[in-house]
Symmetry: C2
Subunit: 683 residues, 2 copies
């Protein structure tokens, strides 16, 4: 739990305070003072450091009880000082110092000791290896810039202090507003999970900040992260995040940076999708998406592009429409009413181009026109200056219209040189602006996500719990035998092709009595059977079956044959893979050899709801094979959806499943039937 | 041909010159004067406009002979004035005015008239609807900013004047240098093609600018464009371009903007690839790529990431490695020699992280270290400031090292607020800088293209020219009959499955005497035969053949059956499609139903060399099917390469081919055999 002392301390001690503002212990005091902190600031330094506005203290032993201690001293001194402060009643700490978990075995040991002390005293810690906190109550950072506090501005959580600084710098001239900023550093005690939990529990609609931005190098508790991110998303919050270190080389970097471990990018994308978080690749994306959200909510994906510069309009239209957004044509009849108010040659078919000589008054008319159009959800206004005339009047109109219109307006003000001052004046009135049309287009498409999924509890599906647990109980670690694997799937409610396992040719006629030809005969093994001639298909008579049986039996180590009814249809795939902390990632796509080659795979974190499974299937490139196309019939999509939901639910009941691959299902109009499966158990 | 008068005029007349610098006719005069134009400037205006430094003239009739006339008067007056100027000997014009081709039928008529006059007098025109020219000799634009002329700076050609301005504004603080800037507007007479031709013909190695940036809404003469872009690429130039208006809605915008027509994005990408041009989506990309090129040449794809801010290093590493660049680990033994010079806890395994407290001296040592490493081709240096200390000394080191190192160094200076002034001082020394690490990563990957292809003439392949022309000669417009289509492919040297066409069941035995079972029987038609039951496969006896024959003959309109030997193997696809002006786009990929569904298609413009065909094939996601994978044999790749080369060559000999679809080839270890083809002829 996050203590009030960390958020709104009544008093702060800076351990290692300095008169030298080029040192963290000096700069943080300046920031606290300039940030108007209301309580006492104790400047702790064994030399006499005179900092007006603070109370000088020679050592921690002389301190009265303080709410929060900020440590700007070498790592090797931190533990002792924190222990002493804990004894004196301090329960909130910020440690700037590096030299902990990120710095080899010695540092890790140091970090563990620190954690032990904090746990013993039930104290909070932000850091170590962080730049601190900025919020309504205090500016506890040793860096600049320190953005002004806006109650509804973005909240920022960053694994990296420098990255937090660079985000704030890049956002500086965009008009993006901030509220609370948390640099978590190594997150020895307080991570993004705990901060999201705090934000979730404290959330008050209309009062709490609605936009969260995250830069993360590690997610240690994905379940907690997911729970609170989802909950915030359902309360109406918008979250955008960078999770860096997804590449092999990138994770080498991250691991030396904050000690993070490599995580598959796919897994992170699945986690973010489930949590309703927009996945960003860099600071540019993060800031652009946040700027989009800082305007009024965009209720659909249909945009009007209003411009006096054609090229920008063409480029943003290309970007928007290639990413699922729409720039719908405007009704000709309606357009005819607008045209007389514009210069001859203007275009009103969307993009609306009112030419280089277009006036502020015309801009106003066009915005009003679009505000009234039923097939438009938002407007992009591109207005720059060739350096000939002043754009102040146009930006005034834009300002007025942005206040009054119910639809969001996204201003692209590309004239960072010719209209630099006017642009600054414009954002000083509380707006964001976008210098690049294409970046805005991308951000609009990225940020326009549907969070209804995140807010729907996954309905539970009833599986035969007892039967599943019984099979798992009797399965040792490693690959499950094919017959047990099929039994497990049947217990989970999946339809598998009828089969028998047979060990001698003599027993064949009796064993296969109830199976219908054509049959398949397969080596009863968990390996890639077909690589060794262990699979015979399309067996249509008993005598063919005997021949196949005997041939397969010749494979060394082969002592049993699985004989299975054959089904006709398309090959589909479904798999599950366990990731500690994340649970199971469920995968689906076309089956057979195409799983590996095409990479046409959709994925989601278990549990998977019917809606999620359907979205997964429909996101496949090869979905037409499932839906049917031209004169070719599709397959039973509902059955495939159900199979995916059941497999995801199975991994919930049997978390011992480390890997599960159904390849293929045979799918046709009637059903989806498992014909081959491999399951690996790991406890 | 571009006249010298347009490039380096001895005298300039501004028609519609004005004292009002908020008007194009006023601002251009100021720009000419401030740009230090050496010749006479005639300010033509029927009112007495006193502009110091210019010679006032009441009307064109009073002008002496001038080299270049710049028109800043309404569109409807331009034609008359240009005609008068032509009579007086002027051969170069720049027309700022809008109201021509982009402005409906009247404007188009006006533009045609203009073109007629220019052609009659063999005069040059830039525009109309443009902002003019900036070069070494004069600054003939009515906009700002006017970048300083650098002989080796980028050349910029832009369809859109405003976009040119916005590009210059966005480049303003990056350190990117410019030489010649051409705004072509509607390109009524001089387009990007003519300017590239001019640059190509005038190119002098080491003297001429090496980087070309293009913003295009239309490519009217793709062949000419390709010829000169390729030629420039072979001379060592680097070209990056945006071709906007690729989406349906985007082209609606472009068409109302400069009258451009929609062009498939695929086609543009194929054209750019063949020309060695880097395809950019927006101004951000264009500028970042140009900034990368403005540093020393990067000779490989292996980068060292040097940073004092871990997060940035992780993010750029992710971006680089996910796009084909490498951040190779650094030899541990070598790293051990560097470590003692860095702060404890620094990482030297690449990224090289020398911590937030890293010094300028350490930065210098690390750069020298990387300069000496064999497995590193270039360095990214991330250096910002948390606002604690001055970064001037670090930027000084960076400056020195960038001058001295043989490897390129890409500086990411993210502290646009904390180190804004130092960053400006740094670029004032002639460097570029990158504010965003992820954008740099993307630009490095985009810009690192291999232009050797563009410089190799496509070797010609000998096809049976006479036979091909004979078949085309006898084929009317429309779909070719299957037997003619097969004959055409055979004339082009492709291997097709043996077949006969048969009209009666009685003739079957004799007709199929030389064919080997199994056979396929197909309705001899150009439609989707299988949709109507018009295809029977795996026929293994004469009696089965007769049954199949009679069944297919029952299809209404069916009067002949094609009987063909069957082949076993993988289905592959190859197609060609004619685009007027561009020639033929050649496509290849997996065949059968997958062509449509997977979209796993590679493409190139004809003619296609063996190298290009191989690159196309290897860029396919499904290439493992061709190469072979696991225990599955691949197919004869060389034969597929040859088939693609031959089809491309065929379209050169038979340009009447509008569409050609071979779907499928049957490919196996031995050969690649055509089993179905459709060809449409259009004259």
């Amino acid at each position: 739990v996050i203590h009030k002392a960390l958020i709104s301390p009544r008093s702060i001690a800076v351990i290692g305070a300095s008169e030298n503002t080029a040192k963290p212990g000096g700069k943080v005091v300046i920031n606290l003072l300039e940030g108007g902190f209301k309580g006492n600031i104790y400047a702790v330094n064994h030399k006499k450091a005179i900092i007006p506005g603070t109370i000088h203290i020679y050592g921690v032993h002389q301190l009265p009880e303080v709410d929060l201690a900020i440590l700007a001293i070498p790592a090797d001194q931190c533990i002792h000082q924190i222990e002493k402060l804990c004894e004196k009643g301090t329960r909130a700490f910020i440690v700037f110092s590096a030299g902990f978990g990120e710095a080899g075995p010695l540092g890790r040991e140091r970090e563990n000791k620190l954690r032990t002390i904090l746990e013993r005293y039930n104290a909070n810690l932000l850091g170590p290896n962080c730049i601190g906190v900025i919020n309504e109550f205090y500016k506890g950072v040793f860096t600049s810039p320190v953005p002004e506090f806006h109650p509804t501005g973005c909240e920022l959580i960053s694994s990296s202090g420098a990255t937090a600084v660079f985000i704030l710098e890049a956002a500086h001239n965009t008009g993006l507003k901030f509220s609370n900023i948390y640099s978590i550093g190594n997150a020895a005690h307080t991570g993004a999970e705990e901060l999201l939990e705090y934000m979730d529990l404290e959330y008050e609609h209309g009062k709490s900040p609605g936009i969260k931005l995250l830069y993360l190098e590690d997610i240690r508790n994905p379940a907690k992260f997911l729970k609170h991110a989802r909950s915030l998303a359902c309360k109406g919050c918008r979250i955008a995040a960078i999770k860096s270190g997804y590449s092999e080389a990138g994770s080498r970097a991250a691991s030396s940076h904050t000690g993070a471990l490599a995580t598959s990018d796919l897994l992170i994308r699945a986690l973010f999708r489930k949590a309703g978080i927009v996945y960003c690749q860099g600071r540019e994306d993060l800031i652009s998406v946040a700027c989009v959200w800082q305007t009024k909510p965009l209720k659909g994906n249909r945009l009007a592009i209003i411009t006096h510069a054609g090229g920008s309009a063409v480029m943003i239209t290309d970007m928007l429409t290639s990413r699922g957004m729409m720039v719908p044509p405007i009704d000709e009849e309606k357009g005819r009413h607008l045209l007389p108010h514009l210069h001859p040659g203007s275009a009103v078919n969307n993009p609306i181009d009112f030419l280089a000589t277009g006036t502020a008054d015309q801009l106003g008319r066009i915005i009003d026109f679009c505000e009234a159009l039923e097939n438009i959800d938002g407007m992009v206004v591109v207005f720059g200056s060739p350096g000939l005339f002043n754009v102040e009047d146009a930006y005034n109109v834009l300002h007025q219209k942005m206040l009054r219109c119910s639809k969001p307006i996204y201003p692209v003000l590309p004239s960072v040189v010719n209209a630099g001052q006017e642009t600054m004046d414009f954002i000083a009135r509380g707006h964001v602006h976008f210098p690049y049309e294409v970046s805005l287009g991308k951000a609009l498409a990225m940020s326009h996500i549907d969070n209804r999924n995140a807010c729907t509890e996954t309905e539970s599906i009833a599986l035969n719990h007892a039967a599943i647990r019984a099979i798992i109980y009797e399965s040792p670690d490693g690959w499950m035998s094919p017959d047990n694997s099929f039994r497990l799937l049947e217990a989970a409610g999946l339809k598998a092709a009828s089969f028998v396992v047979c060990k001698s040719a003599d027993a064949l006629p009796a064993a296969t009595e109830n199976l219908k030809f054509p049959l398949a005969a397969k080596w009863h093994s968990t390996g890639h059977k077909s690589d060794f001639g262990g699979v015979h298909l399309n067996i249509s008579t008993q005598s063919e079956l005997v021949i196949a049986f005997n041939q397969i039996m010749e494979i060394p180590d082969c002592d049993a044959i699985l004989i299975q009814e054959m089904h006709r249809g398309e090959e589909l795939y479904c798999g599950a893979k366990k990731y500690p902390g994340y649970g199971h990632l469920i995968l689906c796509g076309p089956g057979g050899i195409y799983v590996e080659i095409l990479g046409d795979i959709a994925f989601g974190l278990a549990p998977v709801s019917e809606t999620e499974a359907r979205q997964m299937i429909r996101s496949l490139k090869t979905y037409p094979i499932i839906r049917g196309f031209r004169h070719k019939q599709g397959v039973n999509e509902d059955a495939y959806v159900e199979a995916i939901v059941r497999i995801a639910a199975l991994t919930g009941i049997a978390p011992e499943i480390a890997e599960l691959d159904i390849n293929p299902f045979i799918a046709n109009r009637d059903s989806v039937t498992v014909v081959d499966v491999r399951i690996r158990v790991e406890r």
